[in-house]
């Protein structure tokens, strides 16, 4: 078999697995999230108490994880679309995957202090 034709176990497969796992994760979050938002129809107190959970330091960290999942799914989703619609897409799919990972890393690093600001202030004082 010529080199580079084996899909299984290579980058193409792992990015597909990661795309699938992140998609499911976001879907389950959305279910819970529409329920928590619906509490605005119950009372301001019920909503505020539930939203306080989002401000717990551990949950705040989970939010950073959610952002990691969505950013990967979004960037890799654009890569999938490019592979399908751009005639040179299939040839550059691997380059595009490294680009996706680089952009993902930059955005994750840049947003870290902002997303965890609440936790940093709660733990270390303002």
């Amino acid at each position: 078999m010529p080199a580079g034709t084996l899909y299984r176990g290579r980058e193409g497969m792992w990015s597909w697995v990661a795309h699938r796992v992140t998609g499911v994760l976001i879907f389950f979050f959305l279910f819970a999230h529409v329920l928590d938002t619906a509490l605005v129809r119950v009372s301001p107190e019920a909503y505020d108490q539930t939203i306080d959970i989002y401000k717990n330091p551990f949950v705040n960290l989970l939010e950073y994880g959610l952002v990691a999942a969505i950013l990967f799914h979004a960037l890799n989703g654009l890569r999938i679309i490019a592979v399908d619609f751009w005639e040179k897409g299939p040839r550059y799919q691997k380059h595009m995957l490294w680009t996706v990972l680089a952009v993902w890393l930059i955005l994750m690093a840049a947003s870290l202090p902002r997303i965890l600001e609440h936790t940093i202030k709660t733990i270390f004082g303002s």
Binding site: R20, F27, S43, K55
Partner: protein, 148 residues
């Protein structure tokens, strides 16, 4: 654009299973182009969701204090604007339909018994109806004075 045709599910082909190369066309699930439209929808909604969801996360978690400032008063302020109401409504429908169609594919891939598939999909579609109904209702009936 030539790659489009090759990668899309074939017109009148489709169905979730992959047949062996020379088997006869199955008479089932070849009547509509549902899989093709589903495939296109995943890509179109995906492009819109990049803006809608990443914009949402930027507002909710990054800008101007992030998660610290979220509460009933914050939502009341945002949903006083038809622009953000529409944003949330479109995001709700696109994300939910995109996610449901994605999960439908995944169920087709892993659940092999017809019965298992049926029940998993019944659960999936029921959850989608709840989310779409409740989410839409909440946006249209939001009352900023509910507490007083």
């Amino acid at each position: 654009m030539s790659a489009t045709i090759e990668n899309a599910p074939k017109i009148h082909g489709g169905g979730p299973s992959i047949e062996s190369p020379r088997s006869k066309r199955s008479p089932r699930s070849t009547k509509t182009n549902f899989e093709l439209y589903g495939w296109l929808f995943m890509r179109l909604s995906g492009i819109l969701l990049v803006v809608l969801v990443l914009g949402h996360l930027l507002i909710q978690l990054v800008l101007d204090g992030g998660v610290s400032r979220i509460g009933f008063a914050f939502v009341a302020g945002r949903w006083s604007s038809p622009f953000w109401q529409s944003w949330d409504l479109i995001m709700l429908w696109l994300a939910e339909l995109h996610g449901v169609n994605g999960l439908r594919t995944i169920i087709n891939d892993y659940a092999e018994r017809d019965q298992t598939r049926f029940w998993l999909k019944a659960l999936l579609y029921t959850s989608a109806l709840i989310v779409l109904f409740l989410g839409t209702l909440v946006i249209f009936t939001f009352d900023p004075n509910i507490g007083s």
